[in-house]
């Protein structure tokens, strides 16, 4: 058997694939963060909580209305997205134009409240949620046993990431959004309804988090704390990728997922901090991040 650093090649391939799956979540979440930051100049600390809300909506939809996974995959992001819209309308818009730190602090409070509320009503040990029957079981890839559901996660996240990237970078809508970030009044003077745009953007970013949440529900325990564990890592991903760069967020998400996966094989003790270490190095060598735009 071919060995690489003392690890059989097939095992290595397996771990790479697993890293990619992990990266799918990072990519989806950092994409949403990057969009919200890019357009609203708000670091959405509540992103993790909204991811959790996505997973919980799937669970609640199932328990109270009987709507299963596929329905939830569409409905949960919409519902959570609408909540995002409401939050933006009522609160966030009062913070535009202020120091972005206030946005960070507000969403931090929001995250605490959301998580606290769910912990209060649903306890901390979480709720069960099963993968859809169509994706149950797994496939033997030769080098590893691959649960079908995980394959689907990779595919779904790729589709959504690329679609979102296209929407923002390649359409007129995206140009409005980017311009509005810099000078919303002027874009309005040009005849674009910016407040509505911003609202929708936040809704979209939040919906992406919720989508990731639904994807995660069958893999991870649906628990009020699921978001706060992952959000700090995703922050690091975004810093490494370069804030505000959509492509950067996506690519870095996958890359760091893989890096983390490999660390789990070679030096598992360090897998929790490997992303932070990478971040430190990137900051030393390229302060703007891998994909950041800075002279």
């Amino acid at each position: 058997m071919t060995m690489i650093f003392g690890i059989p090649l097939p095992a290595l391939l397996g771990q790479l694939l697993i890293g990619l799956i992990n990266g799918s979540f990072y990519a989806l979440l950092s994409l949403g963060l990057a969009i919200i930051f890019g357009m609203l100049r708000i670091i959405n600390f509540a992103h993790g909580a909204q991811y959790m809300l996505g997973a919980f909506s799937a669970y609640l939809l199932l328990t109270f209305t009987g709507i299963g996974y596929w329905g939830a995959l569409i409905l949960a992001p919409i519902l959570v997205g609408i909540l995002g819209v409401v939050i933006e309308r009522l609160f966030l818009r009062r913070l535009y134009g202020l120091d972005p730190l206030y946005g960070l602090l507000f969403t931090f409070g929001l995250a605490l409240t959301l998580e606290g509320t769910f912990r209060y009503f649903y306890g901390s040990s979480g709720q069960p949620y099963a993968a859809p029957a169509a994706l149950a079981g797994g496939t033997n890839l030769g080098f590893m046993f691959m649960p079908n559901y995980r394959g689907w996660v990779v595919v779904a996240s790729l589709i959504v990431c690329i679609g979102t990237w296209f929407l923002i970078e390649k359409t007129k809508l995206g140009a409005y959004l980017r311009a509005a970030t810099e000078n919303a009044t002027l874009v309005q003077v040009f005849g674009v309804n910016v407040p509505v745009l911003l609202t929708l953007t936040y809704g979209l970013g939040v919906a992406l988090a919720a989508f990731a949440g639904v994807l995660a529900a069958p893999v991870y325990q649906v628990s009020p704390l699921m978001g706060s564990n992952i959000i700090i890592i995703v922050f690091a991903v975004v810093v490494v990728g370069g804030m505000g760069s959509i492509m950067g967020a996506i690519v870095t998400g996958y890359l760091l997922g893989i890096a983390e996966g490999l660390t789990k094989v070679f030096y598992p003790e360090a897998s929790s901090i490997v992303i932070f270490v990478i971040m430190a190095f990137v900051l030393l060598l390229r302060p703007a991040g891998l994909f950041g735009r800075e002279a």
């Binding site: 311009a179 002027l186 005849g191 674009v192 910016v194």
Partner: protein, 233 residues
């Protein structure tokens, strides 16, 4: 000639501070009118109030017969008013071409992109650079070009020559003349008196948030004394 823009008794405030005190102004279709005045008399404020950026305003603004006071900010452009701000407002996250294409087209007699690039060859050359990586003068051109594409009927231009090389100032003068031939109405704010006198049909002189005098270009020589006094030119 019909009055395209008709302003009566306009008052405007920045928070507590009252800046425009009953301003009256009438601009006819196809005219180029220049507002003159010292620093801080409220020229920029006048333009910002017309577009609706400043919402705390009282009085009357009619554009093409319609009352503009109740129009939301993002609808102003659709009525046919285009604005080029003093600070130019080029977007750094958009490249030159994207900046140019940004404002939605609101009228039918907008210029085509080809025409624009012919008028401003610099922009064509730098079309893929980020907007704010242009020099000051290039940015000014881009800001004007951007509005020309949308086909508005009236252009509000705030100090388009500030910080520009003489040769560019001259070019912008030519552009304004061409726009006039195309039937565009222009309301221009200028400190550069020499430039203004070349392009304008008529002048308003502002002081303390009011129009203090109004005269056509022909009367300019007779007025030089007052202008000297008020503007220090």
């Amino acid at each position: 000639m019909a009055a395209l823009l008709d302003i009566k008794g306009l008052n405007a405030w920045y928070g507590e501070s009252h800046v425009l005190h009953g301003l009256d102004m009438t601009i006819h279709d196809g005219e180029t009118v220049t507002i003159l005045g010292r620093n801080g008399v409220g020229k920029t404020t006048t333009l910002r109030t017309i577009t609706g950026i400043i919402r705390s305003r009282k009085g009357q603004i009619r554009f093409d017969g319609k009352d503009m006071l109740s129009v939301p900010l993002h609808r102003t452009a659709h009525h046919g008013i285009g604005y080029v701000p003093e600070e130019r407002g080029i977007f750094s996250s958009l490249n030159v071409l994207e900046n140019l294409m940004l404002p939605p087209v609101v009228g039918k007699n907008g210029m085509s992109v080809e025409d624009i690039f012919e008028l401003f060859p610099n922009l064509h050359e730098r079309r893929h650079s980020p907007g704010t990586r242009l020099s000051g003068g290039e940015q000014q051109m881009l800001a004007i070009a951007r509005i020309l594409r949308t086909g508005v009927r009236m252009l509000l231009l705030d100090e388009p020559t500030e910080g520009l090389a003489p040769v560019i100032v001259q070019r912008i003068g030519e552009v304004l003349k061409k726009l006039k031939e195309r039937g565009l109405t222009v309301l221009l704010v200028e400190q550069n008196f020499r430039f203004a006198s070349r392009v304008a049909d008529r002048f308003y002189l502002m002081d303390h948030g009011q129009v203090v005098s109004e005269f056509p270009v022909g009367e300019l020589p007779d007025r030089m004394d007052t202008l000297h006094h008020v503007l220090g030119v």
